[in-house]
């Protein structure tokens, strides 16, 4: 049994079958890549996992508990965090405030009324946020306004926010998209380090095969909403079905 078990998930958008009978099992403490051409349904699958979309049929179990029917914030509290394809951060707030929000969410749950406390007086939260920024080499950007940051920095912040929640499953949607080579390599190093240092399961969607093969232990290939193959990186590399899916021709 994997930490995440997706069974028979279907999702239609009008006439479009975005997900067709998806079965997926992700083993605990592994890095599992999901690849496939544009429009294959990868982001849609993540949307189902975090409760943003409700599938037409099928089941999603996380650590033995059903995810379906729960509100997104409850699913997050179960231990699933997601980094989005376009960075989703609090862009009116500075880096430290962004970090503190996720640290408060981890400490206090989905709602806690603390209207008379000084936010910077909550030492445990402040320390945790600062430590995470140091770990992520963002300490010097602590008071930067996030709206003006580079895409790489925004992504880094989003990852830091997700990690500060100590998730058991981290979902990454094209974390290196639009990044320069150097930034991409930094991100690979960062993710390797995360994987080595923590008990964490990572599901990563990525078009950059360099990233995929540097990180993942298992790979699922998705095409037109359906998983084609699932195997180890070595076996995926020369797989005819994969070439077919990507190049649109028989091998």
């Amino acid at each position: 049994m994997g930490i995440l078990e997706v069974k028979g998930v279907n999702k239609r958008f009008g006439g479009l079958q975005a997900l067709g009978d998806v079965n997926l099992s992700i083993a605990e403490n592994t890095v599992h890549a999901i690849i496939g051409p544009n429009g294959a349904g990868k982001s849609t699958l993540l949307n189902v996992l975090i409760g943003k979309l409700i599938p037409d049929t099928g089941s999603v179990m996380f650590d033995g508990q059903s995810v379906l029917g729960r509100a997104p914030h409850e699913i997050n509290q179960m231990g699933i965090s997601r980094v989005f394809q376009t960075p989703e951060i609090f862009s009116e707030l500075n880096v430290m405030e962004n970090m503190m929000i996720s640290c408060f969410a981890k400490r206090d749950g989905s709602f806690r009324m603390q209207a008379m406390a000084d936010m910077f007086g909550e030492k445990d939260v402040v320390e945790k946020a600062e430590k995470m920024l140091v770990d992520m080499e963002m300490a010097d950007k602590r008071y930067d306004h996030t709206a003006a940051m580079s895409r790489g920095d925004k992504r880094r912040l989003e990852i830091a926010m997700c990690l500060s929640q100590e998730p058991r499953l981290l979902l990454l949607d094209e974390p290196t998209a639009g990044m320069a080579r150097a930034d991409t390599n930094n991100t690979i190093d960062l993710l390797k380090q995360i994987k080595d240092e923590r008990d964490i399961t990572i599901a990563i969607i990525e078009h950059d095969m360099h990233v995929v093969f540097s990180l993942s232990e298992r790979i699922t290939v998705l095409a037109q909403g359906t998983p084609l193959v699932e195997d180890t990186p070595d076996n995926i590399k020369g797989h005819p079905k994969v070439k077919e899916a990507y190049l649109g021709e028989a091998a």
């Binding site: 975090i50 943003k52 509100a71 997104p72 914030h73 409850e74 997050n76 509290q77 965090s81 997601r82 989703e88 951060i89 609090f90 862009s91 009116e92 707030l93 500075n94 430290m96 405030e97 503190m100 929000i101 996720s102 408060f104 969410a105 981890k106 206090d108 749950g109 989905s110 709602f111 806690r112 009324m113 603390q114 209207a115 008379m116 406390a117 000084d118 936010m119 910077f120 909550e122 939260v125 602590r142 008071y143 930067d144 306004h145 926010m161 929640q165």
Partner: protein
């Protein structure tokens, strides 16, 4: 100090000082001088500065922090007034029970209105709140509930007031027959002539000012709290908030209730200054006025709403008093044809036309100072542009 950082404490002290010395500052022109007309230091206006300051501070907790624009906050102002007058009728003229009830009733009402309206966001939220407030206005204006129950609840278009045969069970034979706080009458005042000046220190105004300072202090605390941070998260990115394991709904509802209670307090204070309550206090123009005050002063800033409320109430009271006779006096030094032209054009913007002035001022501020008067004063005093768009908690690194 008081759990505040130095910068915030100083701001609080500015508000305390302004409140304390308002009767002096606002009566800067000697009584008989040509400019005495512009003095705003009379009790009726000063009370309004404080009361509408409270109203706007509370409104800003909702709108400034969460970005939810309510167009129906006058409903809470109105029920606050009704609640207070009912306490005067039933218990007596001590304002304390009335103020407590006005906050409680406004709080309860905002639970209901907030719970329903917050199911939508953006323009739909605004329209829902507007619809609720207009409904409340109609109910009060026709005394619908009162007629159902067979009693007088709001007294319809006449408005609710205290009559001699009301129970007033806490009134003794020699109790005061005007609103008071433990015997100290709201309408009493100390008049202090100093040379050509005349300063008035009204009890009612200082009573309201104490609430203004407390309200302001609490709003600073809220802005700097984890709760305030979450409210800013709601405004910034609802989606990220949800996928960070936070439920935005109870946070916004809490902000809505708090701001409703502020409005209720303001309504209760209005009734404490003048023991009347009418449906017009719930009319949509009142809801619009608090939006204008907040935006004019600076949305999401701490002191902006206070400045905005002061500016609007000053304009409303002073400019609307400028009548044609006064204008003729002012322009009498000009040749007659020119004088007539000046009076004619000025009369568009004065007296009844004060709304024109308000509109023009509002437009100028929004176009040239989108951050409101606070942005203007920051520019004036050459303060560096803040790193955070709003005034809230932006710690600077220690050097």
């Amino acid at each position: 100090m008081l759990g505040l950082e130095k910068k915030d404490f100083n701001l609080l002290m500015v508000v305390v000082a302004l409140s304390l010395f308002a009767p002096l500052i606002l009566n800067i022109f000697p009584k008989e001088s040509a400019f005495a007309f512009f003095n705003g230091g009379y009790p009726d206006l000063m009370q309004r500065f404080a009361i509408f300051g409270i109203f706007a501070i509370g409104f800003n907790i909702l709108f400034g922090l969460t970005g939810y624009l309510s167009f129906g906050h006058a409903a809470f102002l109105g029920v606050g007034s009704y609640a207070a007058v009912w306490m005067f009728k039933l218990l007596g003229y001590n304002v304390l029970p009335g103020l407590i009830l006005s906050v409680v009733v406004a709080g309860l009402l905002s639970v209901v209105i907030g719970f329903v309206s917050l199911r939508r966001s953006g323009i739909y939220f605004s329209i829902l709140t507007l619809a609720f407030a207009q409904m409340m206005y109609s109910i009060a204006y026709s005394d619908l509930f009162g007629r159902w129950l067979g009693i007088t609840l709001t007294n319809g278009e006449t408005g609710l007031q205290v009559y001699n045969n009301d129970p007033q069970i806490l009134m003794g034979p020699d109790s005061s027959t005007v609103p008071h706080i433990f015997g100290l009458e709201m309408s009493s005042r100390l008049t202090l002539p100093v040379g050509p000046w005349e300063f008035v220190f009204p009890v009612g105004y200082y009573f309201c000012a104490i609430f203004l300072v407390i309200s302001f202090y609490l709003s600073i605390r809220i802005f700097r709290s984890p709760f305030g941070l979450m409210l800013r998260a709601v405004k910034s990115n609802n989606q990220r908030m949800t996928y960070t394991g936070l439920n935005p709904r109870p946070y916004t509802l809490a902000a809505f209730i708090i701001s409703g209670m502020y409005a209720g307090l303001a309504g209760g204070l209005l009734a404490s200054m003048d023991p009347l309550a009418g449906a017009e206090r719930m009319y949509w123009t009142e809801s619009g006025a608090v939006v204008i005050m907040t935006v004019l002063g600076g949305v999401g800033t701490l002191i902006g709403p206070v400045l905005g409320a002061g500016t609007i109430k000053y304009m409303e009271n002073i400019i609307s008093k400028m009548n044609e006779k006064l204008l003729h006096e002012w322009f009498s030094f000009l040749p007659e044809s020119l004088e007539k032209a000046m009076v004619w054009s000025a009369s568009w913007f004065t007296g009844e036309g004060w709304h024109m002035t308000q509109g023009v001022v509002f437009m100028l501020v929004i176009i040239f100072l989108p951050g409101g008067l606070v942005q203007g004063s920051n520019k004036l005093f050459g303060r560096r542009k803040r790193k955070s768009t709003d005034d809230a908690a932006t710690k600077q690194p220690a050097e």
